[in-house]
Symmetry: C2
Subunit: 395 residues, 2 copies
């Protein structure tokens, strides 16, 4: 199709004399297209992918969600970040069971079909690895995927953990629940009873269909707003106890080293955070000066995002972004702002405020409070730098 | 793992003397599992699939979403129903354009990158084929997929059509917009300007990632609450006109034959409807008498679902089901009810009421108003029959 040369208008306008319709006809495929399929796949022209971080230890690799390629709040299940401690076990739904025992009047075993008979709940929640953005304690990372790609958001369906505990009847001395996965390392975490009885789900499905293998098929915990590793995947045991079990995965790691040598432990909550995903590091404002959409994601383990503020002038002034409704508790929230770029070099950044009033800190504020040796729970403001040629980078 | 025999308790309880933990250890894989992957796939143990309806005419086949296998409100993109009129064209995002012309001051051509510069919107909407449940005008169908599987629900992201029209500047005589697809049949429908300026989206993404090929990649219309075929896929032309174009696809079909020989035309709205997806035809209450969850989906093209009522006693009494929040306008709404089955033969059914007060009709009420020759827009109450052995069927 012949097109007029780009002019100073915002988008390409057709010359008045051009017969658009007849010109356009050239584009149309003249042959019948592909047929229907039982289970669809994406277009071969699309190649967004999780980036793979191999590890020296077999089975402990991870991948990151390509946030810069995504829209809305739902992460496609095929692109949900991964973090495994002994690889993805091969589990057959029809043979898998959960043992519930310890400080209960009646120990129980639940098959997956048993779980299906309980009243279920569907909720959209984010899951974020406590190690997300961990390298940013030391130096800024270069694009949204590398900087913050260990957060994803899905519609989870499952049975409230409280329903299972009710059937087993807790003893008065019950205070914690140790959840254990059926991976080869028996990944386990201790969960306070209050949280277990609140909004914790024994989840069977993700974005409408059964959990993906790498997300814990056939059953996992979803512990809304809490660090990813406590959302135990491939759940096969719930042990009700009177004190935390001090498992390997809550002592040898998943504790945060503070300045002075002390460590924070049981730092469950993922605090408010946000990141601009477009324009962002690795991208370019290819059209030159003009109007662009700034968009990104915000989330908080403490509830709903109340407000996201954006600065496009190196932090001097801040303006409220539009939040995509519905804004849901402990879910990713898409934010947006139309922005007119003048063509000058600048930096852009976002900060989120949640319904508790907590405001996402700058990197300096965060480091002043926690030093640089935490590894975990980095939620500093992410800054992107724009050059005069429109290229965007992390420095 | 050795398990005690089923007893009269709701679920399997472990005998008091059984050392659950040691027994359970047998289940754990002792080897490191599979590694990470750039783009995930579902478990090989899961086989839910769209059922394929081949057609005598090449390229006009369809598939139905397996509603009975799904949870929540989001339909996995791989299982979204299909209905094509000339197959799925092979379109390259980097070469695709939309022509906007006719009664506008400034005809325009938009590349996909151009569209990305407009402020976007993400919304969860259902899309339903007007022919969904069409055979039920004549006889009841046997399972949720066959009976009502041409409805799916996704998070769509795109640019409001009103934004493109604003740039092109409508002439005063503009009243309708003919949207045309780039499939080989040039599938086209006329859309009243009011709807085009209201909530119609030029959609680029579905459930976080780019549209699937069979859903219109790289760009489609989403016309919320209106019959599926007007949500033009593979959109390549928007022609602004002063009257409906009476295209093939709004005259030769997609009109509804009424009793007496008249036809309804431009029957855009999909009215309130619901279906119980579990327990439902083809399934069995395998555990015998006891408590089961009744769950299903409700939706309305007129806005939010206000209420879903369930009868488990052959329509004699009705009780309100729980609606999963958030209840969103023109989106699928998951409903649920815990139900104690006594073991007697009965029938179960659901009816939805939307925020306009419209109540889903019984089949008899619907047929009394519209006869049985409509083919399209069937939204009668769906009844499932349960036998004493727990088997569920459509008759």
């Amino acid at each position: 199709m012949k097109r007029p040369k780009a002019n100073r208008r915002r988008f390409l306008a057709l010359g008045a004399g051009l017969a658009g319709l007849s010109a356009c006809k050239k584009e149309v495929p003249s042959e019948i297209g592909e047929g229907v399929r039982p289970y669809g796949e994406r277009s071969p022209y699309e190649r967004a992918a999780r980036d793979v971080r191999e590890s020296k230890t077999p089975g402990t690799s991870s991948t990151r969600t390509p946030l810069q390629d995504l829209d809305g709040m739902i992460t496609p299940s095929s692109l949900h970040f991964e973090r495994h401690h002994a690889g993805v076990p091969d589990l057959d739904r029809s043979k898998h069971e959960i043992l519930l025992h310890g400080l209960v009047e009646q120990p129980m075993v639940f098959t997956m079909d048993d779980l299906r008979r309980f009243p279920s709940v569907s909720r959209i929640y984010f899951v974020e690895c406590s190690g997300n953005s961990g390298a940013e304690w030391i130096h800024p990372l270069e694009d949204p995927q590398k900087a913050s790609g260990m957060v994803s958001c899905s519609e989870w369906t499952g049975v409230p953990l409280s329903s299972l505990l009710k059937v087993a009847r807790l003893k008065p001395e019950a205070k914690w629940i140790v959840a254990e996965g059926a991976d080869a390392c028996l990944m386990a975490r201790s969960i306070p009873l209050d949280k277990a009885l609140d909004d914790t789900l024994v989840a069977l499905a993700q974005n409408g269909e059964p959990l993906r293998p790498e997300q814990g098929y056939p059953v996992r915990l979803v512990v809304p707003g809490w660090e990813g590793n406590i959302n135990i995947k491939w759940l096969h045991r719930l042990h009700v106890v009177d004190q935390p079990s001090m498992t390997r995965d809550e002592t040898s790691h998943y504790t945060d080293s503070m300045p002075g040598g002390k460590a924070r432990i049981f730092t469950f909550d993922m605090e408010a955070k946000s990141i601009i995903t477009r324009p962002a590091g690795g991208q370019k404002l290819a059209g030159g000066p003009g109007t662009y959409e700034i968009t990104g994601l915000a989330w908080s383990g403490h509830g709903k995002i109340e407000r996201v503020e954006i600065s496009t002038d190196e932090g001097k002034t801040w303006a409220a972004a539009e939040l995509q409704t519905p804004v849901l508790s402990k879910a990713a929230t898409r934010f947006r702002m139309a922005w007119k770029w003048t063509g000058q070099a600048t930096s852009i950044q976002s900060r989120s405020i949640d319904e508790t009033g907590y405001k996402q800190p700058s990197r300096d504020e965060l480091v002043a409070a926690r030093g640089t040796r935490s590894q975990y729970h980095y939620n500093g403001i992410k800054v992107w730098y724009i050059k005069e040629d429109g290229s965007v980078s992390h420095v």
